[in-house]
């Protein structure tokens, strides 16, 4: 870990301004991802801006019937909130499928959205990795790619986004509220929040330099049956090989989003029209153009089978 300076931010706008002004500045929330990466010098921020004191840890009802989730609401608290459990059970389930109790106590909403990939080569500073050192190459393409992504990827990077929570947020069409360095605020639709790697896998989100996430707003509840099915090599405390989030309505319509297969939560609204045709039709559209490696090609039938089981459960 490199030495760094540290400040406790006083207000969201000041935090954003400081982050844009000070070279190498980063926000720190729960620190469960950032600190690990700093110890390995995968990340080497020169300055940390602690956002924990910013009173962004509230859940507030919105006038349209939705819910605003403060950026610093802990994963544990979000999953336990009665409104979330009643109106957005897919979100509660996704949260509880992630990490461990101890980690969820620390992990925050914004930190979870912005957590970085678990590609093993990203973590080993001896190895080439375009995301860590742009232009150095991608070790995973012909290396250990089993856990990684197969759609939305590029030759430069096939990292998957590891978050469970983000998959549910994408399913719910959440909006990410931010404040920029100049104090202006904006709302970024979750669909636009995570970027695909292209030639610049080091750029992972739509945030501008210094831009601070202040909240995630959930639209009014959708009703329906909610599912979050996470498939993994052990029963708990493991990242998803694939996950399927779904909200299914009695009339057969619904929404589907996937985790573990792409550099961001993966949802194609157009594919959802095929829901009445069954899992195969939806999967074919969702994963059309996928470029799996030999090691992770199994994720395609796995997605289809998992979705099929979810649809069957919804019907039964």
């Amino acid at each position: 870990m490199k030495s760094f300076t540290y400040e406790k931010a006083q207000s969201p706008a000041e935090a954003a301004a400081a982050a844009a002004r000070i070279p190498g500045a980063r926000f720190i929330a729960g620190g469960t991802n950032l600190l690990d990466l700093m110890k390995l010098e995968v990340e080497t921020p020169a300055h940390l801006i602690d956002v924990n004191g910013l009173a962004l840890d509230r859940l507030e009802p919105l006038s349209d019937g939705g819910l605003r989730v403060g950026a610093l609401v802990r994963n544990t608290d979000l999953a336990a909130d009665a409104r979330v459990r009643r109106d957005y059970p897919v979100l509660a389930r996704a949260l509880l499928a992630g990490a461990s109790g101890q980690l969820r106590n620390k992990a925050t909403t914004a930190g979870n959205l912005l957590q970085r990939t678990r590609c093993a080569y990203f973590y080993d500073t001896n190895q080439p990795c375009n995301k860590r050192v742009p232009g150095s190459g991608c070790s995973a393409l012909e290396g250990l790619s089993r856990p990684l992504a197969l759609i939305g990827v590029s030759r430069a990077c096939i990292a998957s986004h590891p978050s469970d929570m983000a998959v549910a947020m994408r399913l719910l069409d959440a909006g990410v509220e931010t404040v920029k360095a100049d104090g202006s605020r904006r709302l970024i639709p979750i669909a636009d929040f995570h970027r695909l790697p292209g030639d610049t896998p080091q750029h992972e989100s739509a945030l501008a330099p210094g831009e601070l996430v202040t909240a995630v707003s959930l639209p009014p509840p959708l009703g329906g049956k909610h599912y979050y099915r996470k498939v993994r090599d052990r029963a708990s405390y493991a990242f998803a090989l694939v996950s399927v989030a779904a909200i299914l309505q009695p009339d057969g319509s619904g929404r589907v989003a996937l985790g573990g297969v792409a550099p961001r939560p993966w949802r194609l609204e157009s594919a959802e029209a095929a829901l009445p045709l069954g899992a195969r039709a939806v999967t074919e559209q969702l994963l059309a153009g996928a470029t799996p490696t030999q090691q992770n090609a199994f994720k395609i039938p796995l997605v289809q089978r998992t979705l099929s089981a979810v649809l069957a459960e919804a019907q039964g």
Partner: protein
Amino acid sequence: MKFDQPAQTNPIDQLKVVGRATDRVDGPLKTTGTAPYAYEQYQAAANPAYGYVVGAAIAKGRITAMDADEARHAPGVLAVITAGNAGKLGKGSHNTAALLGGPEIQHYHQAIALVVAETLEQARAAAQLLRVDYARSPGAYDLAAVRDTATEPAEAMPDSRVGDFDGAYARAPVKLDASYSTPDQAHAMMEPHATLAAWEGDKLTVWTANQMIAWARSDLAETLGLPEDKLRVVSPYIGGGFGGKLFLRADVVLAALGARAIGRPVKVALSRPLMFNNTTHRPATLQRIRLGAEADGRLTAIAHESWSGDLPGGGPELAVQQTRLLYAGANRLTALRLAVLDLPEGNAMRAPGEAPGLMALEMAMDEMAEKLGLDPVAFRILNDTQVDPEKPERPFSQRRLADCLRSGAERFGWHARRSPGSRREGNWLIGLGVAAAFRNNLVMKSGARVRLDRHGMLTVETDMTDIGTGSYTVIAQTAAEMLGLPLDKVAVRLGDSDFPVSAGSGGQWGANSATAGVYAACVRLRERVAERAGIPPAEASFADGQVRGGGGRGMTLAQAAAEGELVAEDSMEFGDLDQRYQQSTFGAHFVEVAVDYATAETRVRRMLAVCAAGRILNPKSARSQVIGAMTMGVGAALMEALHIDKRQGFFVNHDLAGYEVPVHADIPAQEVIFLDETDPMSSPMKAKGVGELGICGVGAAVANAIHNATGMRVRDYPITLDKLLPGMPERAELG
């Protein structure tokens, strides 16, 4: 004391303390966080500096340039130790690769430097400032690719041929010829390798985490070029080892070198990402098994061949050794082949040989039973043997494998097993599996010293280690039984090279051998006590804190030691009983799994182990050993694998997020039954080992249960869902 005749009735047989389920005497220290592990030896040496180990960034080649200037001048840095300034180093007899590499690099993350600084954080930060240039050499990293270059490791285990395998196999009406593979595995114990080193003049003390104190001391002496009597190795508490701490490792050597360089104690722990490539691991195997049987199920031909790889000078994984002993059959062939691989050093991990060997053999037995149309339990019992199949004149000392299988089958409800792929509960396909467990019982010379003080308190000292296994407790039980004392009158001090050399912890020989050594020392002490009490030793009996002779003569042990501490020391040496009798431990594992029809995720639902392993000294800690080993067996079956990058030559998933071991949610109800048994051939304790028996066969039992659930046979471990998916039924097919 020499043990060369079968044990007679002796004080241990009273079973007032031994054989009773006893809480670990070190438990309260562990649960209150007050047991000082190597890195927490705050009282031992004042003001230590911190060392951080730097691992090589390549698998094979040379360091062409190293610039440590920036690191040396970083804040807090006291020294940077490298091969260039460490002086001449030897290599311990148990090590394959050098513990401090450079300029030659033998494997990835081989230690190339230690950065010593005032704080851990400073050392870690400065470690990243080391600039190293390498010239890579091509290496061999893919066992399958170099399989055909492998040679017979005649020293470790030569090929063994009995009868005429080829002929008998050719003639057998029912045959199996199948290939299996097991991956490289990591010990992944909780406590990393860690050492605090302090010099006093030319004397060095290391507080470390090591299973074998005497090996650590002699290998450290060899490495540093010092006489053994200048070295003290202390390792009272060890946070798991599983064989990963059998040997001297880089933490010890580098802490010693660092402390010498700065004239101040230094402590070093390996960082977690280094543990997987810097230290040892269980080597991968490729195995081929051929079985031939008569139509009635009697095996006539057994061949087991296994290929593994290691660095030049290393050894093979002894994956065929159990096959020489487990089943009857007149015509036999077992062979190992060893290839050179430039991956990190392979070495022992819990039940080396048997653990991966039985994963293959016991799956093959399941397949063969199916071909024969026999129940797998009945098939194994049919081929049971009471003698060494290679040397029929040599009997087993005890062999109750058939009892384990039979009673386990009854207990587990084995009769409920149905044909493969035919039992379903909701979304789950359900299957039952069985496997035999087998692990040899090794005995090792072991010494101890016992001291009786004027308060009647008995202290046992031996360099035996407790790696979480319960050694403290069984040793206390043994001493208490021998001297007729309650447990709270016995103190046990372990893991110090100032104490008599013991068997150490490895190969499941620890509990039986070390307590036998304590037995020997206690026999001597009983003589001294009787002498003090004026009782002929042969007439003395020890109970309730007193020594008594004929006619009611006697005194308390405190009185016997009133004039001065009574000390006795001895060791147990084992004669040739283990040559005359084959000593092994046996068991049967039963497993029920559920496989999700949609995702092919396997979840274990029930497990039962029935073990026949001699006298069980402490049923409570023995059970802990077995359930822990069963858990590890589930890991081996379902998830554990070091993934090799075959271009760069290293294990990629080198942390606990990437190397998955079972978590609580993976482990269901586990039941362990020990058959009531004593083995007078093993030692006066009549005990054997259980710590490794528990893992032997578990992997195959899980695999066989998966086959029973799904009808699919996956012969390449671990059985992850991607290997099952292609054969899983479509929803519609489930009916």
